[in-house]
Amino acid sequence: MSVERPSPTGPSPTGPSRPRSGRAWWIAALAIAALVVVAAAALASTDPDGLERVGADLGFLESARDSLFTILPDYTVPGIDDPVLSTVVAGLTGVVIVFLVMVGLGRVLRRRHER
């Protein structure tokens, strides 16, 4: 009685078979990205990363220049004092923005193609 038959439209009713609804999968995938942001804000290592560590060890990080402007510097929102919350808000903002920019760019490229 298992639902083996793939239905070309609409979500499959039950079971662990692959979800048929594309939109549900995208929303789930974005939710995973959001969870990764929350996990990163709470759990990620604050140790310097590969380049930063090497730069510090070899002394060349000193030649780094500060940015001319800051918007959400260092994945924080200025004014939100709680560091985890600050990074969560900044990170979720980033997730939404890169998603929209990418989908927008994809649509532009697609549209030009149709011409």
Binding site: P19, A34, P48, A64, P73, T93, M102
Partner: protein, 251 residues
């Protein structure tokens, strides 16, 4: 609080030795760090901008010719996931962390050209909005963290998959090997740019940069394998989108 933030600076992050103390549950925000301005000389940075701009031009043309409609949401989701995953610095060893780059992952799903656009979008937003990585060195950052993986890593992925007996059967091992290699090659590329800029000597920078990224690459391989495994289990049909070419209309 603001004073603490300011004194930490935009790029410096926690001290390398103090950073060894607290790892999990440390309340400080994650600090993913891409190369800031000043690390590369202006001529090297501009040369890398030129290379990256040329690659992006080809990427836009190729994507324009071949992008399948149904791949557009996948591009957005890949960009969102790679952005989020880059925030998650994982511990490598004594006081050093690393994070996903994602170039191979993007290219396995979207192909080298759309994958390149995804990586460029992520790294550009990080620089513009979050001051993670400088604007003068943005071309170099997109090249080292994106193009190396989406073009070089992807080529290696296809070659390894073929050698192991076909892409559909050996996707995960091939992607893992390519992901690891792309991280090491990215570190090699960055070392060459640092040396060409006179920032440091190649003989000094190369062994440490590559030495650290040999370990960071393992994390890259694991995350890439997990993501591809997840997609294989939930939406294996997405793998077909990469090679599905939208039929030409006119042109």
């Amino acid at each position: 609080m603001l004073a603490t933030r300011a004194s930490r600076g935009i790029w410096l992050g926690p001290h390398p030795f103090l950073g060894m103390i607290g790892v999990l549950g440390d309340p400080r925000p994650a600090t993913s760090l891409h190369a800031p301005d000043g690390l590369l000389s202006v001529p090297v940075a501009l040369a890398m901008w030129a290379v990256t701009a040329a690659v992006l031009t080809v990427a836009v043309r190729q994507t324009n010719r071949t992008l399948d409609d149904r791949a557009i949401p996948l591009m957005g989701v890949m960009a969102a996931f790679i952005f989020a995953a880059q925030l998650f610095n994982f511990q490598v060893f004594g006081g050093t962390s690393g994070h996903l780059l994602g170039g191979v992952l993007a290219a396995v799903l979207l192909g080298p050209w759309a994958g390149t656009l995804v990586m460029a979008c992520v790294v550009a937003v990080q620089a513009l909005l979050f001051q993670d990585g400088g604007l003068v060195v943005l071309g170099a950052n997109v090249f080292n963290m994106g193009v190396v993986g989406t073009l070089g890593g992807y080529g290696l992925y296809r070659a390894v998959a073929t050698m192991l007996g076909g892409e559909s059967r050996r996707r995960i091992p091939a992607a893992s090997i390519a992901a690891w290699t792309a991280v090491v090659l990215g570190a090699l590329s960055m070392s060459l740019q640092l040396a060409a800029s006179g920032t440091t000597e190649l003989a000094i920078a190369l062994p440490v940069m590559v030495g650290v990224h040999v370990f960071i690459g393992v994390g890259e391989a694991l995350i890439t394998a997990a993501a591809i495994g997840f997609i294989a289990a939930t939406r294996a049909d997405l793998f077909a989108l990469r090679d599905a070419v939208t039929p030409e209309v006119g042109a």
